[in-house]
């Protein structure tokens, strides 16, 4: 039976049997990647840098523990503490490495015969041992130097790629120039005015992002038509429901615009953050002064184009005295507000996503464990979460962030306190998420298929992953998207109070804070626009969460949607 032959193939085989549609899609995707290769390489480099920083920090933990212990308990204890800490860290890494990279079982390969419960532990010990050997080799043998060289070469390679121009780069569509006395523009794209050049670049960015979106959708359709085994899956219905859920679509559009703005912040902002925000006195611009073309640093130019109410104002969609275009005007320091907000979106997105993902992971794992084992595990989790919930969240967040910042803790330095904020929000937010999915988790744990899985010997972790987590993933997605808005508001609120992300890193809450005294003046835009953006974005996330919820679970139609949105929004 030909149907049967088709059935037994894996996705790879099915693509090999009918490669044309897949190739077609792949070529398109490659073209899209090539257009923005430089920016992608740049992103990879930054991600790699962040990871390198994290690795560096983790690596210093055993030594610092040794130092701390040795100073109070002596050298021997210090060395012991060093070994124990290093072992624990390697063990954690081993679990991740095993999960990601080693699909087969080392224990089986080596032919060691142990009982199932011990097999996992032995497996992890083996991986830990291998990692320890690798780590020792890196530290004490020339292999380490070789490795570093390799990383260096790799980094330089990516850097070279990163310097390639892309279609959205400001070299291709420059918007910084000066107006000659005859009214024509020098230095801008095709002699257009900076406003039009900027608008064109933003248009190109969004067009590119939309093309990607459309192409991914096309890819999904190709997969569905040519390669998927089943004619229909429940997910098809979910997607159809989401497409006709206009409130959810609105949310998706808002979130999409926000994410694109964050990812392409250097492209959509009229001027780069490096020149305008971080080191304004080290970069110069040219403008048409009284005596022909003159040069001035960004910093000096900013000083003369501040928006402080009254006559001192550069409002929406206007030029300052130095022929610079400001779509959202300038802020109280004369910095371009749109640039500030675009880069601020990046910060908000990173903190929000990091905090939410951490929260969701903690809550999901806890919900699965407590629902599967019940009893004491459940009770402990309830006590822990109640203890956290009992404290007012914003006060707790405030306390922790002030504490860490005053102590100049190394974590508080990273991303100008951004990482610290993400961790604090995750640490105080997981109980709410856990509470929201505990009910569904308990419900699914009572299903007979859980018993069935146990009856044929499925392991508890696999049971939780395969038979329970899909049922709470939907809820988690919704509540996480709702709480993402809460985290963004929370970060903005903290920054508004002066305890969040520190200057000069741009952040929306700080923009509101800095503009609050000019709300009633001609410079109303400084505080109002960022405030509106926060409201808009959080509404967008809530709408998207509503849409996804209704799409996944049609029974829970929007009746209680407003309540969920209200609870999710309270940062």
């Amino acid at each position: 039976m030909s149907m049967n032959e088709f059935d037994d193939m894996r996705l790879r085989d099915r693509i090999a049997a009918n490669p044309r549609p897949a190739l077609f899609w792949l070529v398109g995707a490659l073209v899209l990647i090539a257009l923005e290769l430089g920016r992608i390489a740049d992103g990879v480099l930054r991600l790699g840098g962040a990871m390198g920083l994290m690795v560096d920090m983790v690596v210093t933990i055993p030594s610092s523990v040794r130092g701390a212990v040795a100073s109070s308990f002596g050298t021997g204890a210090g060395i012991a503490a060093f070994v124990v800490t290093a072992f624990i860290l390697l063990g954690i890494v081993a679990i991740i490495v095993k999960w990601l990279f080693i699909p087969w079982s080392l224990v089986d390969r080596l032919g060691i015969d142990v009982s199932t419960g011990r097999e996992d532990i032995l497996e992890r010990l083996l991986v830990t041992g291998l990692l320890a050997i690798v780590a020792a080799a890196l530290v004490w043998t020339p292999v380490g130097g070789l490795f570093e060289m390799l990383i260096g070469v790799l980094t330089r390679g990516v850097e070279a790629v990163g310097s390639l121009t892309t279609i959205t780069s400001r070299e291709i569509i420059p918007n910084q120039g000066y107006q000659l006395p005859d009214g024509s523009w020098e230095g801008t794209f095709l002699g257009l005015s900076p406003a039009w050049a900027w608008a064109l670049r933003v248009l190109v960015v969004y067009a590119y992002a939309l093309t990607w979106l459309a192409w991914l959708w096309k890819g999904y359709e190709i997969f569905r038509e040519h390669y998927r085994e089943a004619d229909w899956t429940p997910r098809d219905d979910s997607i159809n429901r989401l497409r006709t859920h206009y409130w959810g679509v609105f949310g998706f559009v808002v979130v999409f615009m926000f994410v694109v703005m964050a990812l392409w912040a250097p492209a959509v902002s009229p001027v780069t953050a490096e020149k305008n925000l971080y080191s304004p006195y080290e970069h110069e611009i040219q403008y048409q002064g009284d005596d022909g073309v003159e040069s001035i640093t960004h910093g000096d130019a900013n000083m003369n184009s501040r928006s402080r109410g009254g006559d001192q104002n550069v409002g929406l969609m206007s030029y300052d005295d130095y022929d610079r275009f400001h779509p959202f005007g300038t802020n109280a320091d004369g910095k371009d507000l749109f640039t500030f907000l675009a880069y601020g979106a990046q910060v908000s997105l990173v903190i929000g996503l990091l905090a939410t993902v951490l929260m969701a992971v903690i809550a999901t794992v806890l919900a699965l464990i407590t629902a599967y084992y019940k009893g004491v595990a459940d009770l402990l989790a309830i006590i822990a979460s109640d203890s956290v919930i009992a404290l007012p969240r914003l006060l707790l967040v405030l306390l922790l962030s002030v504490l860490f910042m005053q102590a100049n803790h190394p974590i508080a330095e990273i991303y100008n306190g951004g990482l610290l904020l993400a961790l604090i929000f995750a640490g105080t937010g997981w109980p709410l998420l856990w509470r929201s999915v505990r009910g569904p988790a308990l419900q699914v744990s009572e299903q007979e298929w859980i018993d069935a899985a146990k009856s044929y010997g499925q392991s508890p972790t696999a049971t939780m992953r395969k038979h329970m987590s899909p049922y709470i993933a939907g809820y988690m997605l919704i509540y996480a998207s709702l709480s993402l808005g809460g985290v963004i508001i929370g970060v903005a609120a903290l920054s508004f109070l002066g305890f969040g992300v520190q200057a000069p890193t741009p952040e929306w809450g700080r923009a509101v804070f800095e503009g609050k005294s000019f709300v009633s003046t001609s410079s109303w835009h400084v505080a109002t626009l960022p405030g509106l953006l926060v409201v808009f974005l959080v509404t967008g996330f809530n709408a998207l969460g509503d849409g996804i919820r209704d799409a996944i679970d049609p029974q829970s139609d929007s009746g209680d949607g407003s309540a969920a949105a209200a609870t999710g929004g309270g940062g």
């Binding site: 037994d8 009982s115 419960g117 298929w449 899985a453 009856s455 010997g457 395969k466």
Partner: protein, 470 residues
């Protein structure tokens, strides 16, 4: 109610002679107990869901397990495949005591015993395709290669009367009967020898029930399976089972060949259970034995015989032998009412009413007495006991009243030592007497009832029931 050593010994001796007769025993269950711990962290009185059962399951047979809801039959089935861990006793599966297995040994053993669940809506994970569901046991046990697994699953779908193309469908695209077939296919993947069928057709349409039952019978023939068939539908049990075990309150009351047990039941409980089967012939005359009261809580089972509180053929003390049946019925009702009152938690308002000297909600003792005994001729000896009991009950001490009534009207069934043995064995006077299993037919059918005791001179249950209820 744990059996004391002597009785366990006799019970085991009985079973052992059984197994010698038929050497092909697959599962031996000895004094199995499964208790659920109390809700509190510190325990409390456990619920005795399965309270000391012993029987054998022979290779290739279908053993039916019947009983009313909550009698522990599902728990027994779940314990047999180690979904619940036994509190005590042994389950010897081909000689291995599986209650002691753990880790890899237990996982290995699980291939031999599988379970078909009651609710086809809940036993299949809706987010997985049929193929994934049926294949999962093979994946868990790393059976051969993935390709062979898929092939095997498709053959199985064929075997249970589905189509190979259904591999990529989702459970909600199927009807209840088809879903149950999928569940059966899943239990067959590991080629087990023993399958527990936990009410496999009770959630299905009557028309579909027959199809699934026939499928199960065909599969048994094809693969030589051994079934434990848990059900409360007695006609289905009569159709499919070779032997039947009747359970009540965590105990097996009677176990033996199906036809014999159905046509000539020995145990009073079996009698009353069978009398509840509706007769298709409307002209047929049949006396239904209606049991008094509700089943006792498995947390606090009665002492003596588990069925003693409701038994229609309970042994009556000789000194009251000539009391009227009607009066006995009223006396039993009175004790049931007192037990209910004793068990009922008094609410705050009830307590306040009591303090204020008002009647509690459930009526006074005098009302109850009036209702029960007003149109009865009560002999003076009984009257005296009843008055004493009423006095105790009026003081709110239902338990003392019950003890008094029990001492007077109770018998060996309720654990009271018969008068003759009382002096001879004084130390055991506090210990309650429990019934033994007695072989009641040449086929080795066993029943748990004092009335089968050949040494004591009791009448047979069927005669007593004829007298009292027909």
């Amino acid at each position: 109610m744990s059996q004391n050593a002597l009785e366990t010994g006799t019970a085991e001796a009985d079973v052992d002679t059984d197994s010698h007769q038929d050497s092909d025993v697959m599962v031996e269950i000895r004094d199995l107990r499964t208790y659920y711990e109390g809700d509190g962290l510190l325990g409390g009185t456990p619920v005795k869901a399965v309270d000391g059962v012993s029987f054998d399951i022979k290779r290739g047979e279908t053993l039916g397990l019947v009983g009313e809801s909550g009698c522990g039959k599902s728990t027994l089935g779940r314990t047999l495949i180690q979904l619940e861990s036994a509190t005590g006793g042994e389950i010897r599966f081909d000689g291995t005591d599986i209650t002691t297995l753990s880790g890899a040994d237990l996982k290995d053993w699980r291939r031999n015993a599988q379970m078909v669940f009651q609710d086809p809506d809940s036993s299949l994970n809706d987010r997985m395709t049929i193929g994934e569901i049926v294949r999962e046991p093979l994946d868990v046990h790393s059976w051969k290669t993935p390709r062979e697994r898929r092939q095997h699953v498709k053959e199985l779908l064929d075997t249970v009367g589905l189509q190979r193309e259904h591999y990529y469908r989702y459970p909600h695209q199927f009807s209840g009967g088809q879903r149950q077939r999928i569940g059966i296919a899943r239990t067959l993947t590991l080629e087990p020898e023993f399958i527990v069928l936990d009410e496999p057709v009770s959630a299905l349409d009557v028309s579909v029930q027959a199809e699934v039952i026939n499928l199960l019978e065909d599969l048994q023939e094809e693969f030589g399976l051994t079934y434990l068939f848990i059900a409360h539908d007695l006609s289905v049990v009569r159709h499919i089972c070779d032997r039947v075990a009747v359970m009540y309150l965590g105990n097996i009351m009677e176990i033996g060949p199906t036809e014999e047990l159905f046509s000539n039941p020995a145990n009073p409980y079996t009698h009353s259970l069978l009398s509840a089967i509706p007769e298709p012939d409307p002209t047929a005359h049949k006396d239904r034995i209606t049991l008094q009261g509700t089943p006792p809580s498995p947390r606090f089972p009665p002492s003596g015989c588990p069925f003693s509180t409701r038994c229609p053929a309970r042994i009556r003390p000789p000194e009251y032998q000539d009391l009227d049946n009607e009066l006995w019925h009223q006396l039993d009702t009175l004790r049931e009412v007192l037990r209910e009152r004793d068990r009922t938690e008094k609410t705050v308002t009830d307590r306040i009413r009591e303090l204020l000297g008002k009647e509690p909600h459930f009526g006074t003792i005098d009302e109850i007495y009036a209702e029960l005994f007003d149109d009865q001729e009560v002999p003076p000896a009984v009257e005296e006991v009843l008055d004493d009991a009423a006095e105790l009950a009026r003081g709110g001490n239902e338990q003392a009243a019950l003890d008094l009534l029990g001492a007077e009207f109770g018998s060996v069934c309720e654990g009271h030592v018969p008068d003759g043995a009382n002096e001879a064995n004084d130390t055991d006077a506090e210990e309650s007497v429990e019934p033994d299993y007695h072989v009641v037919s040449p086929s080795g059918r066993r029943s748990l009832c004092h009335r089968h005791d050949a040494d004591a001179d009791y009448r047979k249950p069927e005669h007593v029931l004829d007298d009292r209820h027909r």
